[in-house]
């Protein structure tokens, strides 16, 4: 393990619907309350109840932006979680489990898919192991200095039930999550007050549930202290003066949209984008007046066209979706393009075509976002690399959309959407509103307004529909300056040129620092190029490499379209190792860079198994490259 030993990695695993999320939420908050930083990664199946899910939390005294490939303390609700993650527990680490699962036969668990069982058995055979039960498996790990903390969940729950007068087992088993939290925090001897505060935050609105959970937590905590004593783990609180928040990616986007002035959001339910819309609807009435309207439509075609119709009135409007939804939206995108309507699409990528990997990560859709729709029109693609960027970009997307009167696609991914982290308080005072050439009644008084007037920049001053004293027309057909249908050859030539000119204008006007971020040394012998969520893992891996004496630079492409090609050419032209890192099969960004600059990357680090990149695997891949031991193409497959 190369990553910082000082960090503590905790994981809760259990069947979906068993409270994995709330236990992780409480764990993370409790750590935050103690002045620590957290980064959480959530993995779940396309299933409501029963299939495996887990939440991994990395706790660190410093801010962290990526996950690592180890578990220090694995907290299992059921046998499956234990089996799935047992080999990820680091030597010296611990496993919390139910005494009730010890005799469970490993290959008798129905929710473990045959392909997993086959792979698992193969791995055991390679190790020369032939365990039958969970207990056999645990005994093997004991040999690697992994500690086992078996706790009689059911007995403890019944005891709690007796105290509070609750006999219904189904109600009691809902507290397995808090029970295991109690054991976890007892083992690391963490300050109880912070955990109680976190439990209060999650269950505070339901007093009877709150008191029962507090009791369960305390019982389990005391049990662990008494039974297992000092375990060698210790999670210490630390003092901080920094004002911090704890949020997930979809919330950051939602907050950015509110600050950015978005007032109509249309969506159709889809994972993982829907969380954003639900949050917006819950918080729709704004604290200093006004409100955002959130419309759940009948499909994604209605979502984008509704947002586009709203944008015609001069209102900042958006839709939020993931790949399958965006596929449906494409005709609407084209209409907004040819009619020069500023509409924003927050696009949360997940893996694979069709339904693909509905709850898993991917970065497959960069090319699709750039090219979606028949015909040609300008668009702007903005890619966030971390949760804080999600906030500022979500707001900024509207500025680009309105200034250049064209659709803006804000590309996000599942890893960003469903990860959560602590970070410095966001600063909404950085959010500037640039509405571009937006006219009002006074501006057009006495003039013959033409919606698509030819101009040098390609930008025709825009008027909201409903403005008194004027009318105009839009059509999905090619049109004249007035917005009426035309099929005339000269008008078609000029009108498309006018629209496409806006892309040149955008390319010229948008400052480089909004399109690219560069980290490390520009003259380093190796330059990494990437976009989106791999950023966190790359930055941490670069730090680790630096300690080993390897200098690297990292070009984070935030705007792949229009691509800042001069700068990219300048930086990549000087380096001997050009490394592309992205979460897809074909190296889409590398392809775009080659198309626009002629530069071919020397190395590719790619991953498409539905899991985000971890610091460890990125580090390992980069180290191989730095030591000239790497193949041109390295495919990562980490994450369970």
């Amino acid at each position: 393990m190369n990553t910082k030993k000082i960090d503590f990695i905790w994981m809760a695993g259990g069947p979906q619907g068993s409270g994995v999320d709330s236990s992780a939420n409480i764990f993370a908050r409790a750590c935050c309350y103690g002045g620590l930083h957290v980064y959480g990664k959530r993995e779940y199946s396309s299933n409501i109840k029963g299939l495996h899910s887990y939440f991994q939390i990395r706790v660190s005294p410093e801010k962290v932006g990526a996950m690592v490939d180890r578990i220090d303390l694995l907290c299992t609700f059921d046998a499956e979680s234990l089996i799935r993650h047992i080999w990820e527990v680091t030597p010296g680490g611990g496993i919390i489990c139910d005494t009730g699962v010890l005799e469970t036969k490993i290959f008798s668990i129905p929710t473990l898919p045959p392909s997993f069982q086959e792979e698992f058995r193969k791995n055991l055979d390679e190790k020369g192991l032939h365990p039958e039960t969970v207990n056999d498996l645990l005994s093997e790990r004991l040999k690697n200095d992994v500690r086992i903390y078996a706790v009689p969940y059911l007995d403890m729950l019944k005891e709690i039930g007796k105290e509070v007068g609750e006999e219904q087992l189904s109600k009691l088993t809902r507290m397995i999550n808090v029970l295991t939290l109690g054991v976890s925090f007892g083992l690391v001897n963490y300050d109880k007050k912070n955990v109680e505060k976190a439990i209060n935050n999650i269950f505070g609105k339901k007093p009877s549930i709150l008191s029962m959970n507090l009791l369960a937590f305390n019982k389990a905590y005391d049990y662990a202290r008494e039974k297992f004593g000092d375990t060698g783990f210790k999670l210490n609180t630390t003092k901080t003066d920094e004002e911090r928040i704890f949020l997930q990616g979809t919330q950051a986007v939602a907050l950015g949209k509110l600050a950015g002035g978005c007032r109509i959001q249309a969506y159709y339910p889809i994972t993982p984008a829907a969380d954003e819309s639900e949050y917006l609807e819950e918080k729709q009435v704004l604290e200093n007046g006004g409100a955002i309207i959130v419309m759940q439509t009948e499909d994604e075609i209605a979502a984008i066209t509704l947002a586009t119709g709203a944008a015609l009135t001069g209102v900042r409007s958006a839709t939020s979706t993931s790949g399958p939804g965006f596929s449906l939206m494409v005709e609407g995108l084209g209409w907004a393009g040819i009619n020069e309507v500023p509409v924003v699409i927050n696009y949360y990528q997940r893996g694979a075509p069709a339904t693909g990997l509905p709850t898993r990560h991917g970065q497959d859709d960069l090319r699709f976002a750039i090219h979606a729709s028949h015909g040609e029109f300008p668009r702007i693609i903005l890619c966030s690399g971390d949760i804080e960027e999600c906030f500022y970009d979500a707001a900024r997307a509207f500025n680009y959309a309105e200034r250049y009167q064209t659709p803006v696609i804000h590309l996000i991914d599942k890893a960003l959407a469903n990860s959560n982290m602590s970070c410095k308080m966001l600063d909404p005072s950085f959010v500037m509103i640039e509405r571009g050439e937006l006219l009002n009644e006074a501006d057009i008084s006495g003039k013959n307004y033409r919606r698509f007037e030819f101009t040098d920049t390609g930008i025709s001053p825009r008027l909201p529909i409903g403005t008194p004293g004027a009318v105009f027309w839009n059509t999905g057909d090619e049109h004249s300056e007035t917005g009426h249908i035309t099929e005339e050859s000269t008008m078609r030539t000029r009108m498309l040129e006018k629209r496409m000119k806006k892309l040149d204008t955008a390319d010229r006007e948008i400052p480089l620092e909004e399109k690219i971020k560069f980290f490390g040394d520009e003259d380093a012998p190796a330059i990494i190029v990437s976009w989106g969520s791999p950023k966190g893992a790359i930055l941490e891996a670069m730090d680790m490499l630096k300690k080993e004496g390897y200098r690297t630079g990292f070009l984070q492409v935030r705007m792949p379209h229009p691509l800042p090609k001069e700068y990219i050419t300048k930086v990549l032209g000087k380096t001997s190792k050009k490394i592309d890192i992205e979460g897809n099969y074909s190296g889409q960004l590398a392809g775009i860079i080659r198309e626009k600059t002629g530069i071919l990357m020397d190395y590719f680090v790619l991953k498409w198994n539905g899991r985000p990149m971890s610091t460890d695997e990125v580090y390992d891949a980069l180290l191989r490259i730095m030591q000239d031991k790497a193949q041109i193409r390295q495919v990562l497959n980490g994450g369970s």
Binding site: E242, L258, I293, L312, T313, E331, I465, G466
Partner: protein, 321 residues
């Protein structure tokens, strides 16, 4: 100064076929707006794709010619953002009931305060006469090689089933009736659906002006044609719901009337119910000042261009130190 019909006309060359039923619809709409004295800048007309869809270009109002089947969601977006707009949506039968059927159904559920006008001629005109979703089973119009293999959708029944609170039928060549029907639809508080029986002289040689007018069946006594269309109002039919308890009875009556076709085709208001809350009212229940401060009137930036939206309380909720 009072608005005249010329104030609603544009100079755009009208390329509908000679005798097209759309001309009557266009004129009726313009006359209705004159009667209602609606300023052109307050009116936004949305259309889908097809012959009907060129209508906004001939109207001197805000005119949004959208995508095939999608006029409704575009229009809903505009109406939500600016509830002061008078939003009128035009669709064809293929447009609104084929490719856009999902939007038709779900718009009924919402009861937005808008008007939805479907030009129903039984054919896809602009692609040269294929059968549309309203063409009856077994009918063979001249451009199709074989009789229609699908049953036709009954748009009035579908409208009743999905929650439209005003449902009427009119006829493209009865300009006076159509004008009054459009006015009623615009004045209706809620989502109004107007089905217009429209003739397509080029591709529908079955449901022609002569057919609707009954030229093929003359009264032996007078020698005059016996029209197929008749006016519900003239039969004493009253589809207006005035009390909640009338809903089942009036709905059932409208259903029964909606199935009349062939020899006698009713036109007029089948059903109207203003007791149902509009979408605007439903939003106002959640957002008290929605109508006073709709999205289109909200100020989102201060003088220096900084965001005018406070998210302080929301950030406070997320605070952990």
């Amino acid at each position: 100064m009072a608005l005249k019909i010329a104030d609603y006309r544009t100079q755009v060359f009208n390329d509908w076929c000679p005798g097209c039923g759309n001309f009557g619809i266009l004129t009726s709409l313009q006359m209705a707006l004159v009667d209602l004295q609606l300023p052109p800048s307050r009116v936004a007309i949305f259309s889908g794709i097809g012959c009907h869809a060129k209508l906004p270009h001939f109207m001197n109002t805000y005119g949004i010619h959208t995508l095939h089947g999608r006029a409704l969601p575009f229009a809903i977006g505009a109406k939500l953002a600016d509830p002061g707009l008078e939003v009128i949506v035009h669709a064809g039968d293929g447009d609104g009931l084929g490719i856009g059927a999902g939007h038709f159904v779900n718009t009924g559920r919402r009861n937005m305060d808008m008007t939805y006008i479907i030009h129903d001629n039984g054919v896809y005109g602009l692609t040269k006469g294929q059968p549309s979703p309203t063409l009856k089973l077994g009918v063979k119009t001249k451009a199709i090689p074989k009789p229609n293999i699908n049953e036709g959708i009954n748009p009035i029944v579908l409208g009743l089933a999905t929650g439209y609170t005003f449902i009427a039928r009119s006829y493209c060549y009865d300009v006076a009736h159509l004008k009054e029907t459009i006015k009623k639809a615009i004045n209706h508080k809620g989502m109004a659906l107007v089905i217009i029986q429209q003739c397509c002289p080029t591709y529908n040689d079955i449901n022609t002006k002569d057919w609707y007018g009954g030229e093929d069946r003359r009264d032996p006594a007078t020698g005059k044609p016996v029209p197929r269309l008749y006016k519900l109002e003239e039969t004493g039919y009253d589809g207006v719901v005035r009390k909640q308890e009338e809903v089942p009875v009036k709905t059932a009556a409208a259903f029964t009337k909606a199935f009349e076709w062939g020899d006698r085709i009713p036109m007029g208001v089948f059903y109207q119910n203003e007791l149902v809350s509009t979408f605007q009212e439903r939003i106002s229940d959640r957002i008290a000042d929605y109508l006073k401060m709709p999205p289109s009137k909200q100020v989102i930036a201060d003088r220096e261009g900084k965001s005018a939206t406070s998210i302080k309380r929301l950030l406070e909720e997320l605070k952990v130190t």
